[in-house]
Assembly symmetry: D3
Homo-oligomer: 334 residues x 6
């Protein structure tokens, strides 16, 4: 049977057309050994007032990234519908089973939600979530914000980002959104591998799409949460869903022009990064060493920078496996 | 049969009495389903020159703390025996199976090595390691340094520490060592629960014992590794095992006088810490909130500071479980 | 390559065209780490005498439901081919790996067989089983009986059931079969979500299809086994595969007209059901409470009935997770 | 160091000497890979008024038995301290990690709490809980009630029980308590294997000890919860901690005089019990059959009753393993 | 989107068109919970000299078969590019995650690489590896050798093999290669079930394809490694990629004409094989017994040979499960 | 309570004092999550006739060694009590849970039974089994035979063995038994590490004790089973429990005089053994290489023989971990 005829099994307990605040669930039936008639319940809040544009704000696309879930959970509890001109749909824990487990991917099916689009209505739990966003929520939206951080295994300089798009008018709208977010850094990205991305799904539907990387390590600080909360409110103001002023802050524009920005490990061991996040790096400089923990007196394997720039992202854990991306160097755009 | 008559099965492949540098293993036979005649091989380096005092330096007591393993692995590769006056025994990966797995406790028996002393020669793998330190390595040592960090689930202001001891002369020697380490912070600790600690095992044998907490999150930065390397070298100079000058740095003295320093969670959810490490906190101030990720529109549970001071340690992951220590406030001693 | 050209790898060790009794296997090659040239062996019995109709009787579609496996295993051991007019194909342990594990789904691939139709000849083990029924066994059958119970996590009033079908003549034949089963309750069901069901696969091929829910909890009682054994024999008599009289018993007709019959949990905790199975319920009445086991002195979350009727099904375990169906209320049809 | 000198690490957050109602925790520090400074938090309620006797009521000794946890959680929420003459200590989820997991034993250490007494202050988590009851809570109590059911793998006729004790005056007090509970059945038990039992620990300290088995299967019904709630209140009245009348009900006295009461499986397969709970059984009668699920056409293995009586307990799951106790026959005492 | 338009994400770190020796990796990005930007690194060696034919040599298609990985790893280290006329691409650890784990299938996705062809560029890790061979490496090759052994659960007489193919000229080239390998035995195979095989993928592209089974049990002997090393070198000489003489050895030609060659277990237990590998067997002779380990005094289940021949393969482990292939009898072709 | 006063919970279902053949179980109660009143059932056979000596024959001390279980299971089924003069107690699957799982250690508690003596009546399941042999079965025996092989990870030349004992008369009796077994090789062993051995437990009670290593790899061949069956029968004849002649065979006497016989790996990778079992080795000769499977073009790590002799035992799997014993060289004694 053709896939497009299949109905997604998710049923919302909220009415997306009703004015006011509603807190409810996206209910996804999930039969399993420990609950034959169980369900995955993805929390959702809808704040609506009249007929303005629709913003779709998501966090927890990866379950170990916390700036999105906390900023959006706080927004869902505090947003006054009377102050809103339009509709704000908030899904702070998009891949809810992953958020509950504190893992990047879903503990149910190991699904990486951000690589599962457009999804399948008869697929795995993660694919069903993707399909619901693809076919039900994205079409309702004008503006889409997806808040990411590095998760347990990566750490980033805090930045907002948008993609280089074929439709330059759309790209300009996204870029304006990115700048309105007012993160300490901004990044214009040329996506090399768009397969399965939520970003691409939203952009292909012509939406304004903004994303972020706001820190990492599977933790969250008061500082990065404040960046997220400011950005979320700024975006609503920028797109005239909320009245008020944008709370502006300085932002450095970064670029990662090609694959030489990435340094990849060809050994297992313990990671010594010779630079900390945000520090300048010279091409050719010793950037990282991997030390073997199986013995002493063996020298480390050295990794040198292939470009100049500043250290924009790093492998977070002290333990490194062959194939891991150790460090990413970004150029500062003036 | 009396335990004290049992022989520990660990055999070193190095000769602790030989001058020069030796890199080898503490070999602990370990019969298991995937290797009937297998062994755990704990790397060890001995650097010896003549008849001076013995320093025993350890890292990897917990397997997800990286300042010790890296600083000591680099020391083992670089220490020139001719520069040494005495003996330095270096075990950078003390609970080696935990280091290889990147976990606090041993993946073999879930043993927390730092709570396993005095150990048992016929116990679990972790207990056998403890027994070997208790009965073979600690007795050889004059000075013992055990380098800790927060691991995957805690983050600390970087400090060196020693204990309040009944023998005040011994305490003074430990305290001098702690200060010589020149970490950004120092902590004099009154141990509330000494059960099974390596610290207590060393101190009970009359040794000079210095420990540290140098960061955390299961990661390591260039900055904290530099603190560890400076501290290790300073200690060797301070105890006259190495010639040279102590590389001094300013250190703030902290104190955690009682249980009110600790804030413990009585709920599950996502952690919002209202302060970052090192920031001042007032008694009664809102310190942390735990947000429920099972729904939206439910207010968080609030946790207030019971003391004034500065945030010295925190629960690192964004996800919190009931019973977790959320934050620790320390007083600055002037 | 087109799927329909692929051959299912299952090979039966019985000859479905031979008269007499044969006990054998459906052999499904399954290469895995612990047996490179292994196989899943699904027991099957064929009892055939001459050229009458074919009944296909299955149990163990879910592996933790026992009335089907026991009633059919006993039938397979006792059915006299000389008494049969036609052919009875008995597969008491349809998803055999799940039956051996005592789990709803297959321990090999977590497949829910009853949601895997029409299956795939080159899919997972569970999908291959579905494909074999779809393309080999169902086409042979005139009458299909699939015996279910609630399994470990649901408990039901014992009922036989059939579906509302577009072909009313077919529906009448199914309904006659359902009534002939003579379970204490009967249920005519309008399937809301037919995706992947064995039921729908059989019905779409025009077969007479009868199913049941005969108890639950992952257990089986002398009483529910007797219901199953009586029903199985009655069906054979009704469809003239066996001579004899139908052993009749009174049956109450139930209906679950819409989604308001279902009560779903929005909290985790311990389940207090205020009614037991079969008891009458009034709309608006307190039906269930979920108590939090993380603390004392916190009130439970209450769930009220949205319809009047009787309690026809319940979540069986004392422990409840968010999303679980707590209770189902059915109307009595007079 | 002598065990008796070690201090149990559990700290209560309630003050057992304070009048009024307090809801709090027994906090047991538990350092582990996912929380270095974590704790197990066992909920506790203390209701105290003046200087009468102390009742210690526990549920959740095994984590898959629900009558105790629900009846006691409801008692903790509803008991009015002004109505109490003395002190009631309520621990509804004694082995809290097991209750949270819904398993008989602790998911942390596989500890069966009811076989872990007297415990160890430096042992596993489960042994530390036992030690805390042994050395802190039991000494405070005059009356101890521990509510059990069958859990996921056993089902019982609902009964209250006490032990045959060497001190006949103590036994009489226990027996009076058992009768006051007013369960449908009563059982006087001669313990064959007392090793590690909480029961024995309480009795050895001279306490009045009453226990129960109130159902099973890992579920709970409205009926069995009502029995538990009535029994709990009756006990408080009987021991004059509460004013009021005992709500009496008829009770049948049972006895299990020797090992012939137990029927044990010597085969793997699916269980057919020929009798349901409460039905009479004659010595020599066919009681159970185990059917092989690896094939069809193989006869079952039969098990006959070795005594006459009524079926008082059974293996609950449909799946049986070699060594499982299939059924228990009790004599009715007149 | 059409699959054929998707790009395989694997990137080689070697340049297949460059002369000389290169050791590098096939880098397959693999985002997972413990490394968000991780990769699977499959070692590859290219030895090229001028414009002759291309040989593609693989081992580790299954991860517990060692003759291929060792013979090819040694070849990669020793092959002198100046001696080569053409190009040799060596992938000694084809399913590298399986080789590292020592398991037949991939520990990442349980994928059996040899049943995953033609693969998918957007599939599982194992399917992506298959797709890369299908679309990138196989098209470069003229001659393909895939070295297998029995792995942990099978043991074989050492043989080289080729398939009966529709293109007789291609079959003749393959057969010549098989004979040039000079294993102790040779086998011409009529593939019954070609679904997903690497063999079929190579043959369908018109390549010369030779495969082997060189022993088994998850071990390797000096003898079987010598057979592999000789065969690899002989093949290069035979196809004129290397100068020199074929090191010839006697080879016995075997045939497995039909399904009667296979003996399959219908019981669980311990395996007694009455013949050892290479011994002659008569049709009807007792070949194997399976003994029940659940009890003593129960006779074994007997399995008799259905053909005469010699024992060419066997189930290796002492433990047998229902469905396992116990033994394979081959005919000697004269 | 003193351990020696605790009663072992195992109950035999056979009467060791009764003449004739009995097949039964050692029943060890084992309460667990999936069976609250379950048990481990260890099969046992007793063959008795009158008042001669008692032989205790065991296999399955490690669960992946098959010569003992098969030879003894066959003996239990075939031994005619009328032919016996005395008593033969046969426990073919000593650590039954390990035998059922096919693993060296128990899947229940990871217990290595042969390192668990003297056991504990209140310990783990494995310790309880050891205690039952220590305190119940060994005292009944005059002659004890424990049949071992290499298991999944070791392979041995087939030998019978006895220990060098302080009581030379006892040693002579053991040595006579070892020689009567008529294995292809014999070994007189000086035990370096006797901790927890069944051997030592038996010898300390003054028993005649014979053990074997008859092959390995987790498999069994017709040849090694024949050695075991011949040896078992020879022993019964030698000790006059059976009438008849010893079936003699040539035996080579081996010796492993010191630790230089063992070669241990200091690296991870794939194992190339340069010699096969039974081949002569010269001191200094290249014996083994470990190849790194993480890359190509890296040379292997070489291991040389430290003694001359013949290769008597080897690491069986192709995959090697640091610490594994790679090979054992024995001297031939003339």
């Amino acid at each position: 049977m053709s896939e497009t005829l299949l109905r997604n099994p998710i049923r919302p307990t909220v009415d997306f057309e009703r004015d006011g605040v509603q807190h409810g669930y996206l209910r996804l039936p999930y039969s399993r050994d420990d609950s034959a008639w169980g369900a995955v319940m993805i929390p959702v809040t809808v704040v609506k007032n009249g007929s303005g544009p629709t913003a779709l704000f998501t966090g927890g696309n990866h379950g170990d990234e916390y700036e999105g879930p906390l900023a959006l959970s706080k927004l869902a509890s505090s947003l006054d519908p009377k102050a809103v001109a339009g509709r704000v749909i908030i899904v702070p824990f998009m891949n809810a089973p992953a958020v509950w487990a504190g893992t990047r991917t879903s503990p149910i099916d190991q699904g990486n939600l951000n690589r599962s689009f457009p999804g399948r209505p008869d697929g795995t739990v993660t694919q069903k979530i993707a399909d619901y966003f693809q076919r039900s929520l994205l079409p309702m939206a004008d503006l889409v914000l997806d808040i990411h951080s590095g998760g347990k295994t990566l750490d980033f300089l805090p930045f907002a980002a948008c993609h280089v798009l074929p439709d330059k008018a759309q790209q300009a709208r996204c870029e304006a959104g990115m700048r309105a977010f007012c993160a300490p850094y901004c990044m214009r990205m040329l996506e090399q591998d768009a397969q399965g991305l939520y970003d691409t799904a939203a952009e292909a539907l012509g939406k304004v799409f903004v994303t972020t990387e706001l820190g990492g390590g599977g933790s969250i600080s008061a500082r990065t949460l404040a960046i997220a909360e400011r950005g979320v409110r700024n975006l609503l103001v920028h797109f005239e869903l909320l009245d008020g002023e944008i709370e502006s802050a300085e932002s450095v524009m970064l670029d990662m022009p090609d694959g030489d920005c990435y340094v990849c490990s060809e050994s297992d061991g313990l990671l010594e990064l010779c630079k900390d996040l945000g520090e300048p790096v010279q091409a050719g400089e010793l950037l990282a060493r991997v030390h073997d923990a199986r013995g002493t007196g063996v020298g480390p394997v050295d990794y040198h920078a292939r470009r100049s720039g500043l250290l924009a992202a790093r492998h977070f854990p002290g333990r490194v496996q062959i194939g891991d991306t150790l460090a990413v160097i970004a150029e500062v755009v003036r």
